[in-house]
Symmetry: C2
Subunit: 356 residues, 2 copies
């Protein structure tokens, strides 16, 4: 598996760029000694920080550009303008074979739009999705779409199910991932038309996927299934609701523990437990959403993360390169397409050239 992995980094993306991008790369370098980094961005801002990290400097290069895509720029504008933006140049470096994966903490919509334009989507995939893994009571679960597309028809949901399944299997190493659609009940007649139709297709398509039907909101963190599939509107709101609830819980706990001398003393004794809990649920550990369905590896870091969080996003990119994610998905898509029942009255989920 050990081969040199080159990451193209949008050094100007995110709230604390380029500092956390460079410092994050330095943490990733320690974990993955084979990795090399290309920083795209303002040389005068990057260079001084890199000078302080000689080991990182030895495995990095800088490609200077003055342009950067603002966090609030509309994707359509980002496509037309910003030809020399740090984000775009980083994506193009992967497209041109100079790097294996691109990582950015910048504008999500622009990253998706540019990646889609430059890489193109995989055969049979109409709309790429944003996926991430989340902590659950039983380990980790992949959820998608987290906001690439606000709505998804049945066909798109089926594609998400396949992309999520392959990600869980090849990158996260789950031997036979269970997959379910997020819904408001487990009965067949519940939920939107699209969700019910997607369930029908997944049940009847002969795809070799362990499809479990519907799960509800609480099943996400219960870890009921390995892959939770939903549209980008619902997925984004579920993800942020979970984050908000964890914040609230932690805030209440801090307040309660400060309420008396006894609780403060208790905190001192049990400090290790709280540290464990914080580590277990540290959102930085889960930083690094992946754009699935593209012919290129693109990882989106949270815009507000720190160097530790950004290093985790780099780790996700490195994992995907090491597991040859793109090859795996394309092989799977081709193989899976053979399983799509030709007799199926609905258009097949995967229409790899001439097979289905």
């Amino acid at each position: 598996m050990s081969r040199q992995i080159i990451l193209a980094l949008d050094a100007m993306g995110g709230d604390h760029a380029p500092g956390i991008v460079i410092k994050g790369a330095n943490i990733a370098r320690e974990r993955h000694p084979d990795a090399r980094f290309i920083f795209f961005g303002q040389q005068s801002a990057i260079e001084p920080i890199l000078q302080t990290l000689p080991k990182l400097r030895d495995c990095s290069e800088i490609v200077h550009t003055d342009e950067a895509i603002p966090g609030d720029m509309k994707p359509s504008l980002a496509l037309r303008q910003s030809k020399r933006s740090s984000m775009r140049l980083a994506i193009e470096a992967v497209k041109n074979g100079q790097a294996h994966a691109v990582v950015s903490a910048g504008n999500t919509g622009a990253l998706m739009a540019l990646s889609k334009m430059i890489f193109g989507t995989m055969l049979g995939v109409d709309r790429p999705a944003i996926a991430s893994y989340l902590p659950t009571q039983r380990g980790e679960t992949v959820m998608l779409d987290l906001g690439a597309n606000v709505s998804a028809d049945a066909e798109t949901l089926v594609q998400y199910a396949i992309l999520g399944e392959v990600f869980s299997r090849t990158v996260m190493g789950v031997p036979r991932p269970s997959v379910a659609l997020l819904n408001v009940g487990s009965e067949d007649q519940k939920g939107h038309e699209e969700v019910r139709e997607a369930a029908n297709r997944l049940r009847n398509s002969n795809l070799p996927i362990d499809f479990q039907g519907f799960v509800e909101g609480n099943d996400i963190t219960e870890g009921t299934v390995d892959v939770v599939v939903t549209d980008g509107f619902t997925g984004n709101i579920a993800l942020k609701t979970a984050e908000g609830t964890a914040h609230m819980y932690a805030a209440y706990m801090r307040r309660a523990l400060k309420s008396s001398i006894w609780t403060r003393l208790g905190y001192l004794f049990a400090r290790k437990a709280f540290q464990q809990l914080r580590e277990k649920l540290d959102p930085r550990k889960y930083n690094g959403a992946v754009l699935l369905g593209l012919q290129g590896i693109v990882v989106k870091s949270h815009g507000g993360t720190d160097a530790f969080g950004f290093a985790n996003a780099l780790g996700v990119g490195i994992d995907m390169v090491q597991h040859r994610f793109i090859d795996s998905v394309e092989r799977e898509l081709t193989a899976l397409s053979a399983h799509v029942s030709i007799a199926d009255h609905a258009p097949s989920a995967i229409s790899v050239g001439g097979v289905s």
Copy 2:
């Protein structure tokens, strides 16, 4: 304010009926000495429990029926059959003026369908919603719809906003509740067409509502606004995701606190803090969802709750009766309708007879 309040209880609804219904009423009786209860259901199951609670027995009566609506019965079937079901008789008791509010822990869909048929909706309301209040970092927030209708057009979302605002003001006592639509970003161009259109109408309609635009999933528990408005699919998933995340957090904390002798000792010292936390976030405290937009007070208890949780649902019903919720909403709807701009090109949110 003190007048006798009579509650019609579906004694056969929920996982632990009729036990928790009767025991819940007994707790509610202690809190609200003016309340009286009518239990609808199997006399032979209710009577023996009531015999053990003489004080409750003195302010209760039983209306016997053999029929009960199963938890998995389709609403359409519940409308046609089950004319003598405990749920239906309880609703009819309110319609006939024998009771002021109905409370059930039974089949949600059937409760909504029967309530809608028997009470009818309020003038200007097309589709009633399910609302509940939730704990947040700053107090409590009302969210709706939690699953009455899987989708909602712009018109319906505007109606939800009004219903939620009036509930927050009259029942929860918030002087000028802030209201927002749940979305995937705060920018105007984000989200579904319906959500954006609803925001436009709320901004341009001259309604005297403190409309704050869009909030995201994390804003629910941050308590950014007093009323969060969304469609029933998203609302249901957000609510259950929040519940699941709180469970996960608590489970991890329990595990961490048991990990060593020191953490166990710490737990003993800080026990009071954990107790505070549990009480603060006790889901039973937030039990009692209300069906808004009907010409009658209907409270839905969680099906799996215990007597303490059911008592809280009864408390919600009693509060709504005491604050004359139906009168308040109708008065508000009439008043608000005067504010709806007639020049508005879109159909007005509230079409009270001839006014708008």
